[in-house]
Symmetry: C2
Subunit: 195 residues, 2 copies
């Protein structure tokens, strides 16, 4: 990897961390200069505008979501094991507040009432994520572990719901109880899908 690419990755990751803390809407070139110690003029030369920075940070968060949740799940054997790996990776990132994964989910709430390129990219990214969950679910159907008439998108919907609940529960109650309740809900969901 070229030096420039590496630096760029470090800056964008810092952007993800900062946006997770202050909100993607609060991520300005000035704020990023403060948290990276780089010059505002240098960052401005690179990113040109606040929106361009937000879009690139969002794209980076999506890559981190894929790297931490989806890609390692796909390395698990097809079927229920892969579905469970997806759930466990996502839950771990939510409970431990991994910035890329959490920003990707939180930013939707922040931008859903707005218009513009950031919201559009967020919605499209979430649609792609649901498609990926459906694909992973279907491997368990084709392995004969899940019912052929189970609805993959309904599964994706409910899986997302129990993970969103876990995310809030970490603060409302505590992380250990959040994990416990999420696993209970997930096992109920799997039982309902089983052949």
């Amino acid at each position: 990897m070229a030096k420039g690419e590496e630096t760029r990755g470090v800056i964008l990751h810092q952007g993800v961390e900062t946006a997770y803390k202050v909100g993607l809407g609060g991520l300005t070139i000035g704020e990023l200069a403060r948290t990276t110690g780089l010059s505002k003029s240098g960052l401005f030369a690179h990113f040109r505008s606040k929106e361009s920075l937000q879009l690139q940070v969002l794209a980076r968060a999506r890559e981190e979501f894929v790297d931490l949740v989806l890609r390692p799940a796909v390395q698990a054997p097809r079927g229920e094991q892969r579905v469970r790996a997806l759930f466990e990776n996502w839950l771990y990132s939510g409970v431990h507040r991994t910035a890329g994964v959490c920003l990707y989910v939180k930013a939707l709430n922040e931008f859903e009432e707005q218009t513009g390129a950031v919201r559009d990219q967020l919605l499209q990214g979430h649609r792609d994520l649901y498609d990926s969950i459906c694909q992973i679910f279907r491997t368990a159907v084709s392995e004969g572990q899940f019912r052929a008439d189970a609805d993959p998108m309904q599964f994706a919907y409910e899986l997302n719901g129990l993970l969103l609940a876990a995310y809030n529960w970490v603060r409302i109650v505590d992380p250990a109880d959040a994990e416990l309740r999420a696993r209970t809900a997930f096992n109920t969901l799997l039982d309902a899908a089983r052949a």
Copy 2:
């Protein structure tokens, strides 16, 4: 109701609407002056600080949540009907983006990584909300409709999850599909709790 109280209610409701759109963190006295057409100095004399304004707007959102979701549910007969009324009221407010209900849920995401009085009030409010859901659930247990060993807090957790998913689904797919998927998930949840 005295004239002063009425005016105060109108201002706070406008604060809820504004905070829902720009985020509770973006709700300043200046922003509220802009959306109400009232003078900044008059509002400042009333609210004193941004944090005091945020806390009062949050308290107002909580009252609106109670008025729109919890209180009408408690007027339904005890048991499954009351649980269903709770779900339907909450779903309606989420799908139709009723500002008080939506702000109350969204602000948690916005403030959960922060410290201070706004976050503390939000977390306490959510704990109280879960207690209310548990109480409503227990009326169905005592009516013999739900299993005596069903866990009310697990039910509250999963109910919250499917409603959070519906909230996002309105934008990711569309409102009609969000309602459909939320009802499917809710019926599965009820079936699992039934005696």
